[in-house]
Assembly symmetry: C2
Homo-oligomer: 311 residues x 2
Amino acid sequence: MQILGIDMGGTNLKLGWVANGEVLATSQVKALPKSSMLENLSLCKSESIKLAQQIGASLNDLQGVGLAFPGLVDSKSNRIHSTPKDKFEDAIGVDPEAMVRELWQCSLAVENDANMALLGEWQFGVGKEYQNIVQITLGTGIGSSVIMEGKPLRGTHFQAGCLGGHFTLQASGKPCICGNRGCAETLASSWALPGLIRESEECQESPLRKLPQPGYKEVFEAAQQGDALALRIRQQSLEVWSAVAINLIHAYDPELVILSGGIMQSAEEIIPYIQQYVQQHAWTPWGEVKVVKAHFDQSAALLGGYYRFER
Amino acid sequence: MQILGIDMGGTNLKLGWVANGEVLATSQVKALPKSSMLENLSLCKSESIKLAQQIGASLNDLQGVGLAFPGLVDSKSNRIHSTPKDKFEDAIGVDPEAMVRELWQCSLAVENDANMALLGEWQFGVGKEYQNIVQITLGTGIGSSVIMEGKPLRGTHFQAGCLGGHFTLQASGKPCICGNRGCAETLASSWALPGLIRESEECQESPLRKLPQPGYKEVFEAAQQGDALALRIRQQSLEVWSAVAINLIHAYDPELVILSGGIMQSAEEIIPYIQQYVQQHAWTPWGEVKVVKAHFDQSAALLGGYYRFER
């Protein structure tokens, strides 16, 4: 079986031609965030033609398009219920399945992007031996996804499992982009980081203050150089991410926690910290939850899309 | 159908004779916490004989015993996996079903107490019209239970849904009895309350300081008299309980939140606060979650036990 996987990010569209559980070719283009869903999918169509040429296949070989979307998705009726602010906002009103039929003459499986990535890790990656998994994505925001007793957890409005970044970690804390206050995301995520640096009072000389767009890569680097501000932010962030892991363990009863996302380029500092915190503080009388890094760097959601057609 | 419902609390054993979805007679005795599971069930046997006499029935009429237990329970194999500290600790090793067969010559359905209470509210109480429900019990600790898409959520080790009081609300906060830090329970529950009063520095003259065993009833009363310490604790507790509600909504995607437990004697101050907080801060693009008080004061778990045999 062959499918086209599309991972629709706010910034980039990632595409992959997947055959028999393997990604044969990939490409990446900038998303058109102020443009419509149809324009973005049309751009994917042009890219998919190049992919087909690359591997000597034809669009007629495609059995389906697996679309990972950054919002709340009704994966049963293939409808999109929410989008990130200012991105693909028209997607809520449209019928993405009709668009896919028009463009590729095949069927669609759309899924929340975090859920799609976990399907990939579960079936083809680090989650292969498990039926109870929580995945946490540390990136621009904090995403999550859950496999419980061998099934993706979605909930009646497709909100269950994917809002781990929006559990309150500070009652009556700072407003979050979601409308809640004191969410984990407000305390340790890439979007919150510039604010965390700006609002801190210590260490006015920190090199982090001079960066126009400071990221966690720079925080971990500066911390290794002993910068006090970076050390404090690194410590706070590790504590927040550990609490997120504990909360998801207490919520969903998994045996495995997978960590993924851009911030995991510092995995060798993050994984051992969270594993130890979970060992010490998770309430799991049955045994111990394992904490691991995701196997796939970029292609988990593409493979998850393949699985949606394979089952 | 007739069953004997037993709600095994750390302090009291509540019993009810339930026939055709109605509680015909109840009784309550002090639990024997330093005694064995068998001794406590034997005590229940004597009580059940009195109940039978009261309503002119016979123990032979019983089709089953529905046991609500305050710990992690494998409700499929009728085994108990954890108990409260110093209470019924031998229950982990025993076969409660064999004991029930010996004592009453009928079968057993054992369930975590919060889950059993929610089964009762769902089938016979305030949750009747709903298939997606979270129940929060505010009492000695903070309990929770979940119905998702018309099914009780339990998880592979029977931990899912019931640990809402042990979601972190303060990263690296105070140690909780569960081994985690900064759990909701440490910030606003009856067991935490004496510590919260003792450790606060304001208002040394507060009447709360003079009580040997201050409870939330006294906090709400003193707050109405304008006591500054009580006002602060009431406000903090309302914020914590609201955050618990938000977290459980974000975790489990319900349409209804039921609040129960001893602290709900102040329901008319608690429900409107949490309802408004949820309205303003829960991320539910599909609509609005309703927040209500439980219908049953004492007998939800007894009716839940009945439902376990009726299905």
